[in-house]
């Protein structure tokens, strides 16, 4: 590489500095990503935070969002970590296809997910109708539906992160533990999980942030009722009509949470090299 273009003062730590056009386009791209966030911060009505945050609509949305996103996180860990274990440790026919299906919600438009959830768990749904006939329980328009919608869109983020982490755990450690007589649960608990912890924590943070921001599947499957199914993103959308200042404040809170998650994951995403 030394015979190529001489390093410039502004060149990166490795390789050759990109052409100037790329720098300009990159700056434009950065502005596109960051300007809305800066503008949102500027529009947040700081002087009225105290009064707005005690607005019942804001408070209810805040509480429901926290509870439902944490519930979605718990469900995702309980169901998603085992699924990641299966994907990382077992080979079975059609595995790539099955795996793709499991992470599809990451790229699926959330509103499509909501329509799918209605088709599955709605009052006339594939599972929802027999469930309603057998137990009288209907899921749409309930807080449980909010948790299901958030889990549907957020769990794949946990699965892919944990699965990638599992692939980095040295299998010889598990073999050694097995030769020393440890059973599968002990190996999972004492060997795999401790080694997996950084990936699991990162997966949980991503999963929680995605669950907290969920909108499309929620409004489609769970509807919108303050206190029961109106989460913060839904409140932003509807308050923008009635009380824009409250909408800006909730938006800023969601932005702050996203920043916090990113900072917590800085070793993963903000490494400078």
């Amino acid at each position: 590489m030394t015979d190529l273009a001489p390093p410039r003062a502004t060149s990166t730590s490795s390789g050759v500095a990109p052409p100037r056009t790329a720098i300009v386009l990159g700056v434009v791209g950065f502005a596109l990503l960051v300007l809305p966030l800066v503008s949102l911060t500027l529009r947040t009505p700081w002087t009225r935070v105290g009064e707005l945050i005690t607005d019942p609509v804001v408070l209810q949305a805040l509480r429901l969002s926290l509870v439902s996103s944490l519930a979605a996180l718990v469900v995702s860990v309980v169901l998603g970590v085992p699924l990641a274990l299966v994907f990382a440790r077992y080979d079975f026919p059609g595995k790539p296809f099955v795996r793709a299906l499991a992470v599809l919600p990451m790229v699926l438009p959330p509103v499509v997910g909501g329509v799918g959830l209605l088709a599955a768990f709605g009052r006339r749904g594939l599972v929802g109708q027999p469930l309603a006939e057998a137990t009288g329980i209907t899921l749409p328009f309930t807080s449980a539906a909010v948790v299901i919608a958030a889990t549907f869109v957020a769990m794949p983020f946990l699965i892919v992160t944990v699965e990638a982490g599992l692939r980095m755990v040295d299998p010889r450690l598990e073999d050694a533990a097995a030769t020393l007589g440890a059973d599968r649960w002990t190996i999972l608990r004492r060997v795999v999980l401790p080694a997996l912890w950084p990936s699991l924590a990162a997966g949980m943070a991503l999963c929680w942030a995605r669950a907290l921001g969920e909108f499309g599947a929620t409004i489609t499957f769970a509807g919108n009722l303050p206190g029961r199914t109106q989460t913060m993103p839904l409140a932003v959308y509807l308050e923008l009509e009635r009380n824009p200042e409250a909408a800006y404040l909730i938006s800023f809170l969601l932005l702050a949470v996203s920043v916090a998650v990113l900072v917590a994951l800085r070793d993963r995403f903000l490494r400078t090299t």
């Binding site: 709605g122 006339r124 509807g223 919108n224 199914t229 509807l238 009509e241």
Partner: protein, 285 residues
């Protein structure tokens, strides 16, 4: 190398920067690509200028017309557009359908629009108050509230009072949207207290919950029942309990295409425009 077309060649060029001059073929490809981008940018930058109509003839109804219309107008305005374009073949009409308050805030934020057709006076007044209208709004149609029920009305809902049943899964348009506001006025006037399961973001979303069978009933516009095409039935709300929506329409002050905007508003108010609206369940104001 010369035989390799397209992306592979381009990729190769990037990785062999020092040897670029050895391969005149890739250089030609790069120039062609840049020329293509330049043309694309030029075309893109010409777009908005063309949309304003032919500058040589200010009276021509041509170019692009952008109409912001309340969601409840969707089907009627789609047919209105067909008739309007038949009469003015040089025009292209684009609709942005959403709740009136969404449209009003989009207009306030500077969204490019020529005509605003709202489902209530409040949102039109908001735009008017901010100096957003070119002239006075005209009331062009009205829409009666109707109870939407599943086809065949299996629960035998007869009127607003039946909506008080707490066992009933009732979905209403949110009070932030006009339909929800009228529905709550009508329910209050009739002395009916309801426990809705969801307050939907617009009247069509509320209706779709009934059409999908997820809700037993909703309160929507008469025009929505016509639009649902049998997927939901309507139960009439008597005139004395009804709170009909009146729809104002106006040309916007910042309309990129004011000539076409005036023509469209005139067409909506004309007999043929009114006939189309009536066929979709709207009533004359």
């Amino acid at each position: 190398m010369n035989g390799v077309p397209g992306p592979v060649g381009a990729l190769d060029r990037r990785s062999s920067r020092g040897r670029r001059s050895d391969d005149p073929g890739t250089g030609r490809r790069a120039r062609g690509w840049r020329a293509g981008l330049a043309v694309a940018l030029l075309v893109a930058s010409c777009g908005p200028a063309d949309a304003g109509g032919d500058p040589g003839d200010p009276d021509a109804v041509a170019g692009e017309l952008i109409v912001f219309a309340a969601a409840s107008l969707t089907d009627a305005f789609d047919e209105l557009r067909a008739a309007f374009v038949d009469a003015n073949p040089d025009i292209e009409v684009a609709f942005n359908y959403a709740g009136s308050q969404t449209l009003a805030s989009q207009i306030a934020e500077g969204a490019p629009a020529d005509v605003f057709a709202a489902a209530n006076a409040t949102q039109m007044d908001a735009v008017s108050g901010a100096g957003g209208l070119a002239g006075d709004p005209a009331t062009f149609t009205a829409n009666l509230l109707t109870i939407a029920v599943e086809p065949g009305n299996p629960l035998g809902i007869g009127g607003l009072t039946d909506l008080a049943d707490p066992e009933l899964v009732l979905v209403l348009p949110a009070e932030e949207v006009p339909a929800g506001q009228y529905a709550s006025e009508a329910l209050a006037a009739a002395g009916v207290e309801v426990t809705p399961s969801s307050l939907e973001r617009d009247v069509r979303a509320a209706l779709s919950k009934v059409e999908l069978g997820e809700a037993d009933a909703s309160v929507v516009y008469a025009s929505d029942i016509v639009a649902s095409d049998g997927r939901a039935d309507g139960v009439e709300i008597p005139v004395e309990q009804n709170v009909p929506a009146t729809y104002p329409i106006a040309v916007l002050a910042d309309a990129p295409n004011p000539t076409a905007a005036e023509a469209f508003v005139a067409f909506v108010l004309s007999d043929s425009g009114q006939r189309i609206l009536a066929s979709y369940g709207f009533t004359t104001p």
